[in-house]
Symmetry: C2
Subunit: 313 residues, 2 copies
Amino acid sequence: MHFADRLVAAVRRVGNPVLVGIDPRPEDLPVGFLDRFPNDRAGVAEALRVFGNNVVDVVAGKVAAVKFQSAYYEAYGPEGVQALHTTSHHARESGLIVIIDGKRNDIGSTAEAYARAYLGKVPVADAFVPSWDADALTVNPYLGVDGISPFVKVASREDKGLFVLVRTSNASAIEFQDLVANGKPVYRHVADRLTGWASPHRGASGYSLVGAVVGATYPAQLAELRACMPGVLFLVPGYGTQGARSVDVAPAFEEDGQGAIVNNSRGLCFAYNRAALKEKYANRWEGAIEEALEEMIQDLSANTPAGRLNASN
Amino acid sequence: MHFADRLVAAVRRVGNPVLVGIDPRPEDLPVGFLDRFPNDRAGVAEALRVFGNNVVDVVAGKVAAVKFQSAYYEAYGPEGVQALHTTSHHARESGLIVIIDGKRNDIGSTAEAYARAYLGKVPVADAFVPSWDADALTVNPYLGVDGISPFVKVASREDKGLFVLVRTSNASAIEFQDLVANGKPVYRHVADRLTGWASPHRGASGYSLVGAVVGATYPAQLAELRACMPGVLFLVPGYGTQGARSVDVAPAFEEDGQGAIVNNSRGLCFAYNRAALKEKYANRWEGAIEEALEEMIQDLSANTPAGRLNASN
């Protein structure tokens, strides 16, 4: 089944557009969590695996998809990468769509290697076998279409997807992305090219397997980009800890509540560190994540077009 | 010792600016090489490890540095990543400066996680321990300074370096990098900002730990960027298989032959696939790499300012 159709159907099924970000920074793990594991790099990697699996267990069935931030796993070397591999497979087996946030980028056969790695199959003897088998990968567009088409080709063949950075949520995004060339900012050039790359790869839902990352911290650009990128699914970072509220996220959606998934990483998976929830849940940190997730679902339902996802179910 | 000083000294010591790229695509390994390993993903990963170690053994002492393309290792999952970890450590132990070509990019604590992972140390219990311990990492600048400063901070503390993409060597680099804003192309905006980031981090050699990736396939831009980025070391891809010749690479150097390292990946590590060398070396594929490397060293020495490196030794 086409990636976008799978994602759209899963969002409709759960009735919310929340994308749970799993960014396991050891410093932010629940108090005492690391103490259960050996005091070495492999021990911390094992802790990341167990924590990630627990978060998956808390959110499975409640949301459509999870996003793993590769950096926190790569930090612990091959053992950390093994933890990401194991937890991402656990998430898929739990019925979640898995997005790996690696912001990979390269050209030609190297881009193809990344695409095969995360979305496709790699050659072993006379066969091709899956390696990471994620559902989607984030990709950086600075190298132009040479750095995109190998991902599109593999994703198209394997019913997988990609999300290309267009306008990021950080303060210095303006530095290069907002430079104005030929009357429009660079991010708009990226958006327009991306819409062209996406267009031939739409599924029955009308959405393409080529999606876009558009930050919620600049609502005006979010609205502008939503209008000029029909059929492109938005992955929207910036909600919660990064400062964007539901009203800022609202322009990412089409009127029917479709068209976007909204990421929250630290605000969900480290919810137990918020003073109010810390007091309420103490060591039952999974409860804090559950409550924060429910709160985010309600907030988006009440204050964005995503509230219409349930009505139209 | 400051990263740039180490690299400059190593280039002077060997008398050439060649950067050996190790891009182990299984399809390009020597005939029969894979047959020695199990027919599964872990078996291919083990083949990549052995091949990479062999290439390191051929080039150690002859060049200053090697660059590993992470994609080809990530393709084989955690086992592939383990192979990269092992081979990159073997390269460092063999006296080579190790650059990991991962083109990583992110913001805030995530960028910091990548920086700690590849260049710095990661927290384990009450200590910080090295994880990848590479000498330098390639980084993509699309996110602006938020995506650069965490790398600079860690690199500065740990005597490591980074190479930021400025103008890449592929055909579609023009798509976004050459858009003209405020009278200059985007790549030039990146170059000017990068020169600012680099400036406070120069070593005794006059070069900064913040370097730039500038492709050799557009010699005019290479000359333009060399002139406007004093004190910035260039990592120059594009020589060999991608079509750039020594005359195209020449503008990357200062008059004294310093200022750039020139990458060659497939043209060196798969040299045994060239018809002439295949015939001459048959299964002694290491000999083909050695001859191709010697040829590249002579070519750069004869046709670029790098020839002056020996004279000034």
